[in-house]
């Protein structure tokens, strides 16, 4: 090789150069033949030409032979086997926060019959019908009388497939068809949701996370929800027991981590089996927690007080005259439940759940402030959850004084319990509004939300919630014995009936625990809502939340606290936040 071969500046060989060299080479060979011919050796010339052609053929065959040998001997042994492609309808497994299975795709089988391949139709009827109760005799007869392959029945389980396969009936065949299965049945079914036969989510997390579930199916990784099955079981059990005990029309509950916004459990009664949702009536399929809106009553007082305190309009000691009903124009007069109160400080307006006091505070704040804050709390729009069932609220058309006064204690505005839980989360987590999420948050992750009230106001509201339980006259005082430092607020709203308020109630209890410690401490919220609970002898004929929703929420908290790592401590008397308790007869409005 000449030194010029190593010259880095040498230009690369171009296609044109190559072609010119090839043609030149051919001409050189031809000239050699001509030279041989001209020298009188014509026989040698012919032999050389034949030898040349033979050599070319030999080379070509040797090349082909080597290629064939290589293909035969060294082909990849598994090259012919391919993994089954992921079907477009396939969905990833859905698991709870601890990896427990909630939903998965299982191979089921479609049953086909080609009667032309079967000569003993009686045997088919005799053996097939007892094994498949869902298969009608008429359907089977139609398939037996047809002269082509007919689809008989779908969604056969592997056991049914094996049993029919073992019959060895000629003409009977199967085709695999994936089907979504919910092994827990009617457990967390409204949160998990269900799909259609094509694998498209129709409700719950199946619908909310449809794209994510299909994308994850290709990787084989499950999609993890924030749901904790242990907490779900306790919540669902207690809510269903309450529904049965108080003969409610519906009942619902939710458990939320107020800092991460994770929905740890959610239930709605009546329930259904997601494996066969078509068998349940439509009302059972409705997730009332997210998809139904109600006037929720006094739980709204937390929003009104937060508005008043955050704007600096009032302090906890600002007194309110509640001795006479509040009448605005020709509107409905606003009454308090008879507790003998004449004058209440603001904190007592909350703990005594005074409609008059809350109405007066709403009027002090005015329509603009109330609308701004209520809008910031998310009360004028659907809860921004991934759940697509999240219902839009029914908001007043105009915000006159009468509307504002009623809205201040939860009348005239209807929201979903999910919206209520989201707004309470914002008020009690330090004042940051965050959408509630279905999926599990990363460890230590706290989502960025938007600030709606100051951290100081949030801390005060948390203490007020606790005070409402520790104060003997507080509407939530029955829960204090649990030692879990619960804070809470009841709400009992009359249910509209044909344009008027009827005799039934919507009873709600929103509880937060533990309510002590710094505002950033781990904290959870439970909201229980009962639709039209009925009076019982043991409730002395009362149907307000303190007699039904509150003990239900208490039972839930009592059961789930160990799962959440909340320790019981002896109850300590809680002082009114920030300032000394004002006496009812102190101060002037």
């Amino acid at each position: 090789m000449s030194p010029i071969d190593f010259n880095p500046s040498r230009e690369p060989l171009r296609l044109g150069d190559l072609w010119r060299r090839l043609v030149g080479g051919m001409w050189n060979i031809e000239r050699a033949f001509e030279a041989t011919q001209s020298s009188g050796r014509a026989v040698d010339d012919t032999r050389l030409r034949l030898f040349f052609v033979l050599a070319m053929f030999a080379l070509a065959f040797i090349g082909l032979g080597m290629r064939a040998t290589r293909a035969a001997l060294f082909a990849h042994p598994g090259g012919g086997v391919r993994e089954a492609p992921v079907l477009p309808s396939a969905e990833a497994d859905l698991v709870d926060r601890d990896g427990r299975l909630l939903a998965l795709d299982l191979t089921h089988y479609g049953l086909y019959l080609d009667a032309s391949l079967n000569w003993d139709h009686d045997e088919v009827r005799r053996k097939l019908l007892p094994l498949l109760p869902k298969l009608s005799a008429e359907r089977l007869d139609r398939a037996l009388n047809a002269n082509r392959r007919e689809y008989l029945l779908g969604a056969l389980t592997p056991e049914e497939h094996t049993a029919i396969h073992d019959l060895g009936l000629p003409g009977v065949s199967f085709e695999e068809e994936p089907r979504r299965v919910y092994p827990l049945g009617a457990q967390a079914e409204h949160l998990i949701g269900f799909t259609d036969s094509g694998g498209h989510g129709l409700a719950g997390a199946e619908k909310a996370l449809n794209a994510q579930l299909h994308a994850a199916a290709a990787t084989g990784q499950p999609v993890q929800l924030a749901l904790d099955l242990r907490i779900q079981a306790a919540l669902q059990d207690e809510v269903q027991k309450a529904a049965a005990k108080f003969h409610t029309q519906s009942a619902m509950g939710i458990v939320v981590n107020i800092h991460t916004g994770e929905i740890l459990a959610m239930t709605s009664w009546p329930d259904f089996d997601p494996n066969d949702p078509g068998q349940s009536p439509i009302p059972n399929l409705t997730n009332h927690e997210a998809a139904s809106v109600y006037e929720l009553g006094s739980v709204f007082k937390l929003f009104t007080l937060a508005t008043g305190l955050d704007t600096g309009l009032v302090t906890l000691d600002t007194p309110f005259d509640v001795s006479t009903p509040l009448q605005i124009g020709n509107g409905r007069p606003i009454h308090d439940h008879e507790k003998g109160d004449t004058r209440l400080a603001l904190w007592q307006v909350f703990t005594h759940s005074s409609n008059i006091g809350a109405g007066k505070l709403g009027l002090m704040a005015g329509a603009d402030r109330m609308q701004t804050y209520f809008r910031n709390f998310g009360l004028f729009s659907a809860a921004p959850s991934a759940l697509l069932e999240s219902a839009r609220p029914i908001v007043p058309h105009r915000f006159d004084e009468d509307t504002i006064a009623h809205m201040a204690f939860g009348q005239g505005i209807s929201i979903s319990p999910l919206s209520l839980a989201t707004a309470y989360t914002a008020i009690l987590n330090g004042g940051v509004y965050i959408p509630l999420t279905l999926t599990k948050a990363k460890p230590g992750e706290r989502p960025q939300g938007r600030r709606v009230i100051s951290e100081q106001t949030s801390s005060t509201m948390l203490q007020l919630m606790r005070l409402n339980v520790t104060d003997p006259k507080g509407s939530g005082h029955k829960l204090d014995a649990l030692g879990l430092r619960i804070g809470g607020k009841t709400g009992s709203a009359q249910k509209p009936d044909h344009g008027h308020y009827g005799k039934d109630n919507i009873s709600t209890f929103a509880g937060v625990f533990p309510a002590d410690g710094p505002i950033t401490a781990d904290r959870y919220m439970v909201v229980v809502t009962l639709d039209a609970p009925q009076p019982l002898p043991e409730t002395y004929g009362f149907i307000t939340a303190g007699w039904n929703a509150e003990p239900t929420a208490g039972a839930v908290i009592d059961r789930i606290a160990p799962f959440l790592g909340v320790q019981r401590t002896p109850t300590v008397a809680v002082a009114k936040p920030q300032v000394a308790a004002a006496r009812p007869d102190e101060g002037a409005e």
């Binding site: 032979g65 064939a68 040998t69 035969a72 001997l73 082909a75 042994p77 598994g78 012919g80 086997v81 089954a84 427990r100 299975l101 909630l102 998965l104 795709d105 299982l106 191979t107 592997p158 299965v181 092994p183 827990l184 049945g185 457990q187 099955l229 242990r230 779900q232 079981a233 306790a234 669902q236 059990d237 649990l482 030692g483 009592d558 059961r559 160990p562 320790q567 019981r568």
Partner: protein, 130 residues
């Protein structure tokens, strides 16, 4: 050189050119060996396919078992069965304590046991009726 090549092409064995016989022999060996290897590989592929089918079948079985396990381990179901058949109930608040407090509870139990009078023991002046 050309002469020796020509000799190779022209030498014969019982009327057949040696070069033709050699080429035929090579071809026969090549065909037989390719057939043998292909047949062997076909068998291997069939076995691999069988194993793959078994794996897929086992995976389907595992999925079914996972679903059954999830159903059987459902907390609400376990609670219902434990209440129904074992008479169990969720622990009350009185029965909950922290790990650190277990030592104190144990000491209190020991102290209570040591102060309990044995049956038939003679009453002391402090404990008996005077």
């Amino acid at each position: 050189m050309i002469r020796s090549v020509r000799r190779v092409f022209q030498s014969r064995f019982r009327g057949f050119r040696i070069i033709d016989l050699s080429a035929f022999g090579c071809l026969a060996v090549l065909v037989l060996s390719v057939y043998a290897f292909k047949a062997n590989q076909g068998g291997e592929n069939a076995r691999i396919q069988d194993v793959d089918d078994q794996i897929a079948s086992e995976q389907r079985q595992i999925r079914v078992l996972q679903a059954q396990l999830a159903h059987l381990e459902e907390p609400e179901r376990l609670e219902r069965l434990s209440v129904q058949y074992l008479g169990m109930a969720p622990p009350s608040a009185k029965h909950e304590t922290s790990i650190d407090a277990l030592i104190d509870i144990s000491r209190q139990a020991e102290a209570a046991k040591s102060t309990t009078p044995k049956p038939g023991a003679k009453p002391t002046s402090a404990g008996g009726e005077l």
